[in-house]
């Protein structure tokens, strides 16, 4: 989850009447996690959920806190957005590249300070990573307004175009930036398939930005910058609108006067950005109470919404209209409004309620059968183990030798952070033998069993089966002992008789292994583990094992429905 740093001094200044403890106590009830409090460095580190990009700055968090602490209620709005004639012209060539650009101008009588710049850049990063999907969907450029001249032209150019990139001192071609710069390598793939790449030119033909990669150096923002120009480029209009809204409220909270910009695009009519109109959702008051299990009056619901920095209007006949500030991009359905009411009401005020409708709970059939399987095996002296479904290639190779390893039906993982986890097991035998090899200092005889899933590829689909593996390790275990165990288990658990026609495989000792058939259908294998495998796993004790497909047994014996009588 993304993290934002908030100054404790700012909280104390804004909420002078409220103690810091009380403020911190309230933060989780806004859906925020406190990652660390560092009062000495004037800092709280707060984790926020990615659905709330407006929380990516301290001003955004203060805005929400004001509501829940009853300091300032209702929907924040920007009434004084001033019209300007500044415009951006969009070139048709960008149609399939990154066709949308929104912008605004923010002016102030004094320059931006260090803390503000840090907050703004950190917010920009969070927006890039979150709703910008690592700049793929949308990205932001911050510019010194006074270093450029309108109108701007947003157009596609070849990679041979040159300019001085941010923090650079000489001209570079776009191609060089893409191949040599870290940002070029990281975000270049977004532009990979396009012949022409987007740039933003001012009226003096200076390239001020190469979205979504890097800005030009001429419009660099520093601690002497009073006035800002902000642009968002995007692959869809919603992302551009959302990001610019969030930035607008942030800049307003910093004390900037905002000026709109006209975007003249061949893809739609002339539009004026930013678009800060609140959006509206219609719903019934009754719906809110039903979802939350409350019986709030209309008035109470409206106050709850105000505390969540929204606004509600009682439209009569039980209808509620919710007014949502444009930076709250996470609210788009009736249920979202319900959550805002709950947060405004205070989650800690929600008393538990116990549903009264009767339901007869029960375990599923399979659990019941597996429990009985366990009972019998425990009675026969076996200890249950559980192993991972994902195992390593080397274990499969050690146990099944080449034959098992080259099994065409094996299901493998595309990518794994651990070499121990490479494929889905198609048998429980490798894991159980591995378990023995990890317990060579324990008392013998060791008798283990596992119930687990096995996986195999059939055509282009995956088949999952429950499997039972039972194994014995001690110095004199042999085929007779394991078969006696198999027959006892089948008799006591299922009153079933299996046959075991001879069958050799390379992981059993030749002549000491068989297939297990139930009603003439193959369900599994039984035998003495081949000495080569014991040697591979440094085992100095004999091992016998049987494994069968438990799902198949349940089918063959028609156990899929419980019969009590």
């Amino acid at each position: 989850m993304p993290v934002v740093n908030v100054r404790t001094s700012l909280l104390s200044r804004v909420f002078s009447e409220i103690s810091l403890e009380e403020i911190i106590e309230k933060l989780p009830y806004l859906g925020l996690d406190i990652e660390g409090l560092d009062e000495a460095n004037d800092k709280i580190r707060i984790e926020f959920n990615p659905n709330r990009p407006d929380f990516s700055s301290e001003n955004g968090i203060v805005r929400a806190l004001k509501g829940i602490l009853n300091v300032e209620l209702g929907c924040p709005s920007i009434h004084d957005l001033r019209a300007s004639s500044s415009s951006i012209i969009v070139d048709e060539q960008l149609k399939n590249v990154r066709p949308f650009i929104y912008g605004l101008v923010a002016k102030r009588a004094f320059p931006i300070d260090n803390e503000e710049l840090t907050q703004l850049i950190s917010m920009q990063e969070d927006l890039h990573n979150g709703i910008g999907r690592n700049r793929k969907k949308a990205s932001i450029g911050l510019h010194d307004y006074d270093a450029l001249t309108f109108p701007l032209l947003y157009k596609g150019v070849s990679r041979q175009a040159k300019f001085i990139p941010l923090d650079g001192n000489k001209e570079c071609s776009l191609a060089d930036i893409l191949s040599d710069f870290d940002v070029g390598k990281k975000y270049g793939p977004i532009l990979e398939k396009f012949e022409f790449v987007p740039i933003l030119l001012d009226s003096k033909d200076n390239i001020i930005s190469f979205p979504p990669i890097i800005n030009g150096n001429t419009t660099r923002v520093d601690l002497s910058t009073n006035n800002l120009f902000i642009e968002v480029t995007s692959v869809n209009p919603k992302s551009a609108k959302d990001m610019l809204s969030i930035l607008s409220f942030e800049l307003r909270d910093m004390g900037f006067d905002l000026y709109s910009i006209v975007v003249d695009s061949p893809f739609y009519e002339k539009i004026v950005t930013p678009m800060l109109e609140p959006h509206k959702l219609q719903l019934d008051f009754k719906y809110v109470n039903r979802m939350l299990g409350l019986e709030l009056t209309h008035e109470e619901i409206l106050v709850c919404l105000q505390r969540s920095r929204c606004e509600g209007i009682d439209k009569g006949s039980g209808k509620l209209e919710c007014i949502i500030p444009s930076y709250r991009i996470d609210l788009f359905d009736k249920v979202d409004v319900c959550e805002e009411v709950a947060i405004g009401y205070g989650i800690f005020n929600l008393e538990p309620l116990h549903p009264s409708t009767y339901f007869p709970g029960r375990k599923n059939n399979q659990s019941i059968i597996f429990d009985k399987v366990r009972d019998i095996l425990i009675g026969l002296g076996f200890m249950e183990i559980i192993n991972p479904d994902i195992i390593s290639k080397s274990l499969v190779r050690d146990v099944f030798l080449e034959a098992g390893h080259s099994d065409k039906k094996l299901v493998t993982l595309d990518d794994s952070k651990n070499t121990d986890f490479e494929l889905l097991r198609n048998s429980l035998i490798p894991s159980i033998i591995n378990t023995f090899s990890k317990n060579i200092h324990e008392k013998y005889p060791q008798k283990l069993f596992e119930i687990g899933k096995t996986f195999s590829a059939t055509d282009d689909e995956i088949r999952e089966d429950w499997s039972l593996c039972v194994s014995i390790a001690h110095n004199t275990t042999d085929y007779t002992e394991i078969k006696s165990n198999l027959e006892s288990f089948m008799k006591y658990c299922f009153n079933a008789i299996v046959t075991t026609p001879r069958h050799d495989t390379n992981y059993f000792l030749t002549g000491h292994s068989a297939r297990i058939l139930l009603k003439d259908q193959k369900i599994g294998e039984i035998g003495e583990i081949h000495p080569q495998i014991l040697e591979n796993l440094n085992l100095r004790t004999l091992i016998t094992v049987y494994e069968f497909n438990l799902s198949a047994v349940v089918n063959i014996l028609n156990l899929d429905q419980i019969r009590i009588v």
Binding site: K443, E461, I462
Partner: protein, 521 residues
């Protein structure tokens, strides 16, 4: 080979039990007591014990420890001295002391002192001669008048020193503790003289039967044809038992633990939780571990460009050729989900991205398929099953772990009921202090996260997440009523339950650990 093999002979097991039985003897103990009993309550040295019992000195030491622990035997540690002739003295056959030399010279007719000193034997060593005179006088062997030596009648008798030396030569050595008065006198005298005796300090342990234990030992040592240790089938069937006395056996000594069959502790705990949920009216469902991206993500309103879908976090599956999960046959469902994605997330939903197989990252796809099939108006189901995340394994993260998940569907289902269900569940697990915070999940709204207070660690621990399924999730499935859903990692509960700091322990299959977890905890 086996640490449990000598029954009850691990003395550490006795240490905490002061009231131990002395009702039975190990064969080693028996042999030792027989030897000790022969001398009533007299002391026997360790070496004598070994010799007479036919046991190795190691067996003697161990056996004596057991007997001491039972208060049957006492120990004393004595210092003794072993005295033997100096190698210079024992080398020659007929070594004689200077005083005897002097007597012999006088006996041969040399009686003047000056001549005695000059004699072949003394070679002018007057100091040695004066020494010899001193001992001769002490022995009452000679008298000296003027310069002349006269032998007295006692000069024919050996001195006590000579007797002692003869004894040493004869026996090789004598222990100080065995000295008689003469020996003592001779030893005192000889030890002052150079190169005659060697004294070696000995530390010897000696044992005896404690006086008050003699009757107990006697009863323990009952022997004879009439005494047997065990009842046997032969003795039973023949009726001989009527004439026999049975030895007392040790009925209190700890014995080796047996191997046993048992359920895996985690499975056992899962069962307990299942019982709780069934008792709360939830029914169990089950489903595949391998799922399509459609069910794992798309149907849960998680956009196809969402970072959680990256290979970085999720395991995608393949075989020799590519694998494609069958998508729902209900094409309406696909279309509905696709439309919701396009409308809400503004991207081109691509069916190809819905088909790859993944290992389920949560159990929710199974719940969704259940809802999609039955379209219940009201229901209460749960499942506990494995889920998978492509993470580095650490003490708190596993690649595979279990999740428990439950849903409640009803016309009047609401958020307070969800809080109620969770509170009831936690209270049945013994968790009393809980609180709820708002949070975010892509597929529920409102969403809450629960924090539970752990007394042992004195801190709040984040446990299950919950919420009401979004209409974007339920509508395409054909579910009209609110669906309350809750769930989370099961191992976190299990770690609290089994008092583990390292989550990996649960899957280590270490038999010592598996056996050590009691069934009733």
């Amino acid at each position: 080979m086996d640490k449990d093999e000598v029954p009850g002979r691990d003395t550490s097991k006795f240490e905490n039990n002061p009231n131990l039985s002395i009702s039975s003897l190990h064969p080693i103990e028996k042999k030792l007591l027989i030897v000790l009993r022969m001398v009533e309550a007299g002391w026997v040295t360790e070496s004598d014990l070994a010799k007479k019992s036919g046991l190795t000195s190691d067996q003697v030491r161990r056996g004596v420890e057991w007997l001491r622990y039972k208060d049957l035997v006492q120990i004393t540690e004595d210092t003794d001295f072993k005295i033997y002739l100096h190698p210079d003295m024992s080398a020659t056959e007929h070594i004689v002391l200077p005083e005897r030399m002097l007597v012999d010279i006088v006996n041969n007719g040399v009686i003047k002192m000056s001549e005695i000193i000059k004699s072949e034997e003394f070679r002018g060593n007057d100091k040695e001669v004066f020494g010899a005179i001193r001992y001769c006088k002490k022995n009452n062997w000679i008298s000296i008048i003027d310069d002349k030596v006269t032998l007295l009648p006692d000069s024919h008798k050996p001195s006590s020193e000579e007797n002692f030396m003869a004894k040493l030569r004869n026996k090789g050595s004598v222990l100080e503790s065995h000295f008689d008065n003469e020996d003592k006198k001779a030893f005192e005298s000889l030890k002052k003289r150079h190169n005659i005796l060697v004294t070696e300090k000995l530390l010897d342990k000696k044992y005896r039967i404690a006086q008050i234990s003699v009757p107990i030992v006697d009863s323990l040592l009952l022997t004879g044809d009439k005494v047997v240790r065990n009842l046997t089938q032969d003795v039973l069937v023949s009726g001989k038992w009527r004439d026999l006395i049975f030895e007392q056996i040790d009925v209190e000594a700890p014995l080796p633990l047996l191997n046993y069959g048992k359920k895996n502790p985690l499975v056992d705990f899962i069962d307990e939780v299942k019982e709780i949920l069934v008792g709360m009216g939830f029914s169990e469902i089950e489903g595949n571990l391998t799922q399509s991206c459609f069910w794992n993500f798309d149907a849960l309103f998680i956009p196809q460009d969402h970072p959680a879908r990256d290979m970085q976090d999720t395991f995608y599956l393949k075989s020799q050729k590519d694998l494609y999960s069958p998508l729902p046959k209900n094409t309406q469902l696909l279309e509905h989900v696709s439309k919701i994605h396009r409308d809400n997330w503004q991207y081109d939903w691509n069916i190809a991205d819905s088909k790859p197989y993944v290992l389920r990252t949560h159990t929710t796809p199974v719940t969704l398929q259940y809802l999609s099939e039955g379209k219940p108006e009201k229901d209460k189901v749960f499942l506990i099953g494995r889920v998978f995340r492509n993470e580095k394994v650490t003490f708190k993260h596993l690649v595979e772990f279990h999740q428990v998940e439950g849903i409640y569907v009803n016309e009047d289902a609401n958020l307070r009921q969800l809080i109620g269900i969770q509170s009831e569940f936690y209270s049945k697990l013994g968790i009393k202090k809980i609180k709820f915070w708002p949070t975010f999940f892509p597929y529920t709204e409102p969403s809450l996260q629960s924090m539970v207070y752990n007394e042992k660690f004195d801190k709040w621990i984040e446990l299950f997440g919950m919420g009401i399924f979004r209409p974007e999730v339920t509508k395409p499935l054909g579910i009209k009523n609110p669906v309350l859903a809750w769930g989370g990692g099961f191992e976190r509960l299990a770690m609290l339950r089994f008092n583990l700091d390292d989550i990996r322990e649960l899957y280590s299959n270490n038999l010592t650990w598996l056996k050590s977890v009691p069934k009733c905890l």
